[in-house]
Symmetry: C2
Subunit: 471 residues, 2 copies
């Protein structure tokens, strides 16, 4: 049996082992050559350059093209474009490729992919396009895809592949290997790490890892070497939860079951790598006040998505200004207060951000699960805030004393600093936890609240104390 | 051949399939029961409660104990504690467990683990402890561990496991399966997904996935079904790069080779899940100005690690105050300026943070690789900054006009807003890219620079324009 000459093969035939350093197939030279081919309309050379690349590199190449180049590229590549490449493209680019590739051609290519990859492509497209593609799919394929798309977007049902290898538990190692050998290669999943053992009602009994199967003797029964599946997950489970489960238990492959506990598919660790990366990235972006991680989304879309966050921030900044406005006469009499007041607010804001970051991360990792741990966390953050508050009260006080030669202002800034750093710690720890209890994503919403709290408390304590004791 | 009664098995025998919802073995009930056993000194019941749990759950249980409970726990569990549990513990807790578990006992347990897990434990310990454990290890094991520890901390050599399955390319499928069956189960890696094909000099020729091996007929030669290994990575490659490679190409298992291109080990995707999670988490924490992600690190350590960041921020806040100080007479004459000035600075700071977040994330994902993409990114951010600057110039201007009934102040805040949002975009995009070129982690260092820029530009333009045109 000869191996199918897939991209990996071709790729590495061209790159010898002493080119170890060059692990990425897409070098600047290749990029330049591809762009030249597109410009020249040299189709044969284009195919010979692109086809040997790994699908991920082909996708990367596509991303680098402008829209005119992209159109020519898809026209020239057409039947030579591996549908797997589409799974590596970000939404916006995928749209462009699909529209010039054509719905019918895509419908023909989709059945070549494992169902999770096909779904991955379809869920990034517009509803109309999906409807057109579904209509063009063979009936069997269409039913599978439609069922998958019927699951909510962030659940295990979307992530899983329907292609699995199952055996009854009374089979022997030999029987199951013979079964695999007899099976048409197209019928097997592209990749699998376990054989799933099911009962006649298609309920999961356990799984046998391939390494175990291979190292066991032919007469051994599967029931004797199977691991009683520790984690079968419901098809409705949230992707993020699935990711955490894989991570926590170092899983490689889990069975997915429906509400009747029947096997409907499996999720493997290589699918989870992307989920984990995405989830962690989403938290990062959310804390930074951005929602799109895509460098390719349109200018208008980017402006719009950032605008909302900035508008909310303007609102909180105005609240802070209103607080300052209350003390305008105080400031008029002692302008040093205007000079110093941003220090208190800014230190509180930074301390609050530190605590929020730790809290958001801990919540995402499900580390703040029980009440005892939560209390310990809040108390600890309060202690850290108070300690740093005391230290910076002294530092800021000394700086102020040297600068303005006024011990009273120094005392006021010191007390305001302690109050604000403590408020920052308490709100920084408390707000994400409360939001999370209210089922609001703490990564998205926390920062605004914290900044509002630290600005208001900062200006209020500093200017308020000054109004009472100084002027 | 009977399956080793491992934890997964026992665990699931106790939980029937209709308890699907309860995917985590460590329920509050179990936690309470374990703590009660520790208090009562009921050793047998403790073992019967803890041993059936997955090692990850056992580690989670250990993390919940206070130090007195932990001491009693290790004493009572002793020989029943699976060394795998140690790999799931965070540094600080691991230290405690090891010190009460004892160096000799640990040295005896380590050889049971795959080498990557053993290294994982050792690299979290103090040098002295490591030396003691090494001294107590059997010679063969010691050499392996010492070699692994000789690699720099963040490189592939630390991540890989030395246990691999290798075959020559002229072997048949049947021969290699027979070889695996004949092999002592202890000699095989705990988990593997490919057989690595090597030449007599131990250079990697390719790999055969187990799924492929199983579905091929016995007489087929490995050379006919092997994939010419697309990615063999040097032992010195950075962990983060390894993670990106796995992610980009959807890899499952790669061979690791030394400087002579000889096979020294392999890295599998399940090890990479943690790397990806950690790296993404590190960027998140760094952007938030925190360096420790551990909820268990000591109060003093936390205060210290946060202090440095806050000190740097105090410095930048003082710089901003110095800028305000230049205009104290202007403020004295028109106190509305003091009320409004934080708005300009805060909006710039937020817009800058948005851009920095996108830049840091894109840099971490290696999306800003060539000059063309970088230029496009900076230009795009500048356009976004300018557009939002124009919008918020109008919004802030209108708010100011309503509030202070003064068109001149409204115009000044508008122009200052445009200037600061543009400065925020340019510095937010440029600073991380420049830092990254200088080999400084942009996630750690960018925020401080950005805040300084937006505070200084914000106060300078607003108060400066006011000084020139208003008073």
């Amino acid at each position: 049996m000869a191996v199918k000459p897939d991209h990996d093969n071709i790729e590495f035939k061209t790159s010898t082992s002493h080119e170890l350093a060059n692990l990425y197939g897409l070098t600047p030279k290749v990029v330049a050559a591809v762009i030249a081919c597109i410009a020249d309309g040299n189709k044969d050379r284009l195919v010979s350059l692109v086809a040997p690349l790994h699908p991920a590199d082909q996708a990367d190449m596509i991303e680098r093209l402008n829209s005119a180049q992209l159109k020519r590229f898809t026209l020239m590549m057409r039947e030579n474009l591996d549908p797997t490449v589409l799974t590596y493209l970000p939404d916006t680019v995928l749209e462009d490729v699909v529209s010039s590739y054509g719905v019918n051609e895509l419908a023909q290519a989709l059945p070549e992919l494992d169902s999770d990859d096909a779904i991955d492509i379809l869920e990034d497209l517009e509803d109309e396009e999906v409807a057109d593609i579904l209509a063009a799919l063979p009936v069997g394929e269409r039913l599978i895809v439609e069922e998958a798309l019927s699951y909510p977007e962030h659940c295990a049902g979307r992530l899983m592949q329907r292609e699995v290898v199952v055996c009854p538990s009374h089979w022997t190692v030999g029987q199951s290997i013979d079964h695999l050998r007899a099976e048409d290669a197209d019928q097997l999943p592209d990749e699998f790490y376990v054989i799933i053992i099911i009962d006649p009602a298609r309920r999961v009994l356990g799984q046998v890892r391939l390494a175990k199967l291979l190292s066991s003797d032919r007469p051994v029964r599967l029931s004797d070497i199977m691991e009683i599946a520790p984690h079968q997950i419901p098809v409705s489970m949230d992707k993020e939860e699935v990711g955490l489960l894989f991570q926590r238990y170092g899983l490689v492959s889990v069975s997915v079951v429906d509400a009747q506990e029947k096997l409907v598919g499996m999720i493997t660790v290589d699918d989870i790598v992307d989920v984990i990366q995405e989830e962690a990235g989403e938290d990062l972006m959310a804390l930074g006040g951005v929602s799109d991680s895509d460098l390719r989304s349109s200018l208008a879309a980017t402006v719009q998505s950032r605008f909302l966050w900035l508008l909310v921030n303007l609102f909180t900044a105005v609240i802070a200004s209103l607080v300052i406005g209350v003390f305008d006469e105080t400031i008029e009499r002692l302008v040093a207060l205007a000079v110093l007041m941003p220090i208190v607010a800014s230190m509180g804001g930074n301390a609050g951000t530190q605590t929020v970051t730790v809290a958001v991360r801990a919540l995402a990792m499900r580390q703040l699960t029980d009440a005892r741990i939560v209390n310990r966390f809040v108390l600890r953050e309060a202690m850290v805030g108070l300690t740093n508050g005391l230290i910076f009260a002294v530092v800021a006080g000394v700086v102020t004393l040297i600068w303005f030669q006024n011990i009273q202002i120094a005392l006021v800034i010191g007390f305001a600093m302690i109050a604000n750093m403590l408020a920052a710690a308490l709100s920084g720890a408390g707000i994400p936890i409360i939001l999370s209890k209210m089922k609001i994503d703490p990564a998205v919403a926390s920062s605004v609240f914290i900044t509002t709290v630290t600005d208001v408390i900062g200006f209020l304590t500093f200017l308020g104390l000054a109004a009472i004791y100084l002027v």
